[in-house]
Symmetry: C2
Subunit: 359 residues, 2 copies
DNA sequence: CTGTTAGCGCCTTCAC
DNA sequence: GTGAAGGCGCTAACAG
């Protein structure tokens, strides 16, 4: 009774038996035709198709899942890095959803931080066939649990030792190195890395860790001074942190920013502090194009390789679902950083110029 | 065989029968205890709970759905308004996911534009119990189909005649009226509405339609000149459109913008055109706080009422799922527009000042 | 090529 | 308070 009430619009739903009866065949044959798992004569096919067209039929997903042992759904686990999702995370969701649909998977999105509950519901209740896990840290309990349970998954980001798992990650280290080199080429000699919030770094958040080590190494390699500050993910924090370094030690002329939401505040503090971007101070970041373009002057930015990340993640996962014996695979992605003055259509916006003050 | 291979980590999954055997009761009793649908003696309860704790058990979602007739999932249908999701849409996803989880629902996200396929998969295959539909237009085929099929749903946005459906919407008309009044109070006498892309308007996109009529009515009411331009959802288009009106008829001093992604370009064109925001030109918009804060100077903005929209949408839907007989309900939300000079913590940022040039 | 039989794992009668 | 039987709708294994 309850099911019937739930769908008040039509009477009862059309089931595979209705089609079978209407077409004068058995349910098995209908199923066989639909799944294509065994040959069906042209004549029967014709009749079944006509019946389906007449009555309107779609196999019930729950029944299919129960019988077939797969839900044709995957889950996307995104614990929000900040208070809300970053532009990257957003685009990533959209792209994964799109890509998954192309492989005939639905996507269940979870942004919860309560790993236990999410895990129980999605994995233990077998709501999904596989998982894409975001914001993976050096030591990540979620990864451990997924490995234990044998659930197919792909990590976006890496653990400290990712050899046993499939992952996709950005090569933050090389990327930041190219940022530093670029700023050095513009004759900057004193740089600041505005990193993610401190707690994220401490938690072993990959981008924060790898960007920082890449930055410090590159500064040494290229013979420029480099220091690191941490900053909460909001404009107010960006303003505060930047004001502080302007007050404490204003010798810097270039900033590398790993913190999208702080950038607005950083701009404001610099401007109020008498800096003129890009004439005496340069900012460069891995950022969403929408941010980079909305800022004035435009931010020097490497575009987030969202598409490649998302497509690769889905591809790795669906491959593993199709063949669970597949060995784990890691993909390191370096955004195409061709740092140069560019038009709006080009991948990189360069607002940075040579510093004037250091002279 | 295949199912077993799919979960390589552990042997076979623990099922309700395993618990029953382990506890020395029948599966019926275990189920009864878990669903709480009939009394179970304290002693049996104890034993079952111990067995569950020992073996680890969670009811399989597909089997439950098949037997019980509900999936405990809802779908969020977001056709991207522009090339990618807007900040509002993003936050909306996150908030809906969170809120749905609080009511014990999972959320399937779809960003596909191919309504037919999405509809077939989610509704006809009964993957979800209900739907939240975004970007609803005046005439919306998706709404018609959902009504026909009797699927419980909530529209975010309204059709031209929304009396038969449940919906949540922003009161764009009143909102834009308050924008116009604010600009008039700042002594602006010549305004431009930079609206959504023309195709969206033509398609009967509610925010575009209602903002525009609200704008034109308000201009008449407050005795200021007002014209409307359409603009694609990207900075380049914003730049182009603004440059054009600066060239054609530069008498305007205030802009009302209904197009997040264009704002960066609008700022740039105005600046290049010699305008100084906010000294001689004011911009006001319904925008994400992250945008408003990232711009320099900060944008005058009413915050997107994301939370209220999302929470209301989920509430309406879950209520309807619990009791399908519930009558449809509409909610019109007016963002709290207390337009004033503000600090960073206040809901509204006012960068706008009285125009100087009109003097 | 097709139909019959037997589950998938759970919930829901109906008996006791 | 508890158990046995049947069904949700579909697919897989086994016969023909």
């Amino acid at each position: 009774m309850e099911q019937v009430v739930a769908r008040q619009g039509e009477g009862r739903r059309v089931r595979i038996y209705d089609i079978a009866r209407h077409a004068g065949v058995s349910a098995t044959t209908v199923s066989a035709m639909l799944t294509g798992k065994r040959p069906v004569s042209a004549a029967t096919r014709e009749r079944i198709e006509r019946s389906i067209a007449t009555l309107g039929y779609r196999a019930n997903a729950s029944a299919k899942a129960l019988a077939h042992g797969r839900t044709d759904s995957i889950a996307l686990l995104i614990p929000p890095a900040g208070r809300s999702l970053s532009a990257f995370e957003v685009d990533f969701i959209a792209r994964v959803v799109q890509q998954a649909r192309a492989s005939d998977y639905d996507v269940l999105v979870s942004t919860s931080l309560e790993e236990e509950k999410v895990f129980a519901r999605l994995v233990e209740e077998e709501r999904v066939d596989g998982i894409i896990l975001l914001e993976v840290c050096f030591e990540d309990r979620r990864v451990e649990r997924l490995v234990e349970s044998g659930t197919p998954f792909v990590a976006v980001g890496r653990t400290a030792d990712p050899r046993q798992i499939s992952w996709v990650d950005i090569d933050f280290s090389s990327l930041v190195r190219s940022f530093v080199r670029h700023l050095r080429d513009l004759r900057h000699e004193d740089l600041v890395l505005v990193n993610t919030p401190r707690p994220l770094y401490d938690r072993g958040y990959g981008p924060a860790r790898r960007a920082q080590s890449g930055f410090l190494d590159a500064c040494e390699e290229f013979g420029v001074r480099g220091r690191v500050v941490y900053c909460d993910a909001n404009p107010e924090a960006g303003f505060r942190v930047t004001s502080e370094i302007l007050a404490d030690d204003p010798s810097f002329t270039g900033l590398v920013v790993m913190n999208d939401y702080a950038i607005g505040g950083i701009y404001q503090a610099l401007t109020l502090g008498g800096r003129r971007i890009p004439h005496d101070t340069s900012i460069i970041s891995l950022a969403d194009a929408r941010w980079a373009d909305a800022l004035s002057p435009r931010l020097t930015a490497a575009p987030q390789p969202v598409d490649e990340m998302a497509v690769t993640a889905v591809r790795l996962l669906t491959a593993k679902l199709a063949d669970p014996a597949l060995p784990p695979e890691g993909h390191l992605i370096l955004p195409p950083v061709t740092l140069r003055e560019s038009t709006a259509a080009a991948p990189i916006r360069v607002a940075a110029r040579a510093p004037e003050r250091p002279r």
